[in-house]
């Protein structure tokens, strides 16, 4: 198994700062804006972004969204996917939602998340922020609005996001060859 480091702790910090600045650029006053981290792994990134925005004097509500029951691979895998907590402590109706996930791969999770989100109401606008965008691996016409890093990958590779918030020693993003 080969591992290649894509982002180390310091680079990740710079990337997060840039993503926050881009959010600020597009949202200026953050009126009616909410962040929605996708379970299970996007929530850690969402928390980092939320925290960083706070240090830049921007307060945006943060929620967690689980799309397990809206996935399109139910009964097409051996075991049912395990659901996580959904916590949306605000109304989605009329909001500008920023969906946040760690890795954008086939786009199927994001599709499911859009469905799951709409069961809470009709947002005014939805954007997608991802830390790693795996280029040319999409099964669906889905693109991210804010991207931490573009990576060229193929199906036999995997992107591993290790975050301190998720119980890892250091923030590190890896590209792994599955053999």
């Amino acid at each position: 198994m080969q591992k290649k480091l894509i982002l180390d702790s310091k680079q990740l910090d710079i990337t997060l700062s840039r993503l926050c600045q881009q959010l600020i650029e597009n949202h200026s006053d953050f009126k009616d804006c909410v962040l929605l981290g996708l379970q299970p792994r996007g929530i850690f990134l969402a928390e980092l972004i939320h925290h960083k925005l706070k240090s830049l004097k921007v307060n945006v509500p943060l929620g967690y969204l689980d799309a397990t029951f809206h996935r399109d691979d139910f009964r097409r895998r051996d075991t049912p996917a395990k659901a996580s907590e959904t916590r949306v402590p605000f109304a989605i109706e009329g909001k500008n939602v920023v969906l946040i996930d760690d890795v954008l791969f086939t786009g199927r999770t994001v599709r499911a998340a859009l469905d799951a989100m709409i069961s809470f109401g009709r947002p005014a606008k939805v954007e997608l922020l991802v830390l790693v965008d795996r280029k040319a691996t999409r099964d669906l016409p889905i693109a991210a609005d804010y991207v931490g890093k573009y990576v060229d990958t193929h199906d036999a590779q995997r992107v591993l996001v290790e975050l301190e918030a998720n119980g890892n020693k250091k923030n590190k993003i890896w590209l792994i060859n599955k053999e």
Partner: protein
């Protein structure tokens, strides 16, 4: 693992503690789903479920049907009254005919103990037991335990008294299996004629005086007197039963402690519970009903997903 150890849900006896905990965790998520503005998820949209009821039911049947619809399954309902069962069709023939219409899961209630187990040996579809005679009613036990867990924060070490007609109750048996597996202390209480002879072999305490049972327990799960199953006279009169075993609000208030009152329904008001007890702040009877939908969604989801 996020998979149940069984293909069917025939009884609590056959499943493990891990299975029960997985069902609870999944039900937590579904409870969240059914409190959203849009209460429906598409998980089971390519599944057809037959609700086959050979015995009367309101709560269980509505609860299953709602759970199935919230998961986007296609649902057909069958009840034995007004069907060809009256013309002499066998159980296996009836169900095979339903399955020939491409049904994936069967939810069945039957007056004979073991009917769903018999079906499970002969057909391919997943089977969920919605009550078989005086044997088991697994989803009721799961929703009862789920409601206790929600109210008290856990089940391990809690004292639960099951009070009433234990002999004829499938709810009692399934509850005992579920609560023992989850580490609770269980007591059964009722007139000696309505307690099965060998009940203590299940590891439960026995009490004949309802006041002592109430003083002992954290949760009182009160059962209905099942007159329709009683061929003999087990007690002199309903009035006498309610005098010795009926529970009133005053009895609960006098305990000077927090007690949770449950009932699987239908309640015979004035027999096992007075109206003021059933409607008191001790009672979580309507929470049980709400949790029933979430728990049944979890069971359906986990069984269908492992196919």
């Amino acid at each position: 693992m996020s998979k149940l150890s069984q293909r069917h849900l025939l009884g609590i006896k056959d499943i493990t503690r891990q299975d029960i905990e997985l069902i609870f965790e999944t039900a937590d998520n579904f409870k969240d789903v059914i409190n959203r503005p849009i209460k429906k998820v598409p998980s089971l949209r390519d599944i057809t479920i037959a609700n086959v009821f050979f015995e009367n039911s309101t709560r269980t049947r509505l609860s299953f049907e709602l759970a199935e619809k919230r998961l986007s399954a296609d649902v057909i309902n069958f009840s034995s009254s007004g069907s060809s069962v009256k013309k002499g069709e066998t159980l296996l023939d009836t169900v095979n005919n339903i399955l020939a219409m491409k049904v994936d899961m069967v939810v069945m209630r039957h007056a004979s103990a073991g009917a769903p187990h018999f079906l499970a040996k002969h057909i391919k579809a997943n089977i969920i037991n919605a009550g078989d005679g005086t044997h088991e009613h697994p989803t009721q036990a799961l929703l009862d335990a789920f409601s206790i867990r929600e109210k008290l924060g856990g089940i391990e070490g809690k004292k639960i008294a099951i009070i009433g007609d234990i002999l004829h109750s499938r709810v009692a048996l399934s509850n005992i299996f579920a609560l023992k597996k989850l580490g609770a202390d269980v007591m059964v209480c009722g007139p000696p004629t309505l307690l099965p002879k060998f009940i203590s072999t299940l590891g439960v305490q026995i009490e004949f005086e309802v006041k002592k049972a109430l003083a002992w327990c954290d949760v009182a799960n009160v059962l209905r007197i099942q007159l329709e199953r009683q061929q003999l006279k087990y007690f002199p009169s309903l009035r006498e039963y309610s005098l010795y075993y009926g529970i009133s609000k005053k009895m609960l208030d006098d305990l000077k402690k927090n007690i949770v009152l449950m009932h699987p329904g239908p309640i015979n008001r004035g027999v096992e519970l007075t109206s003021d007890a059933a409607d008191s702040h001790h009672s979580i009877i309507l929470d049980q009903v709400q949790n029933g939908v979430a728990v049944r969604m979890a069971v359906l989801y986990l069984l269908a997903g492992a196919a």
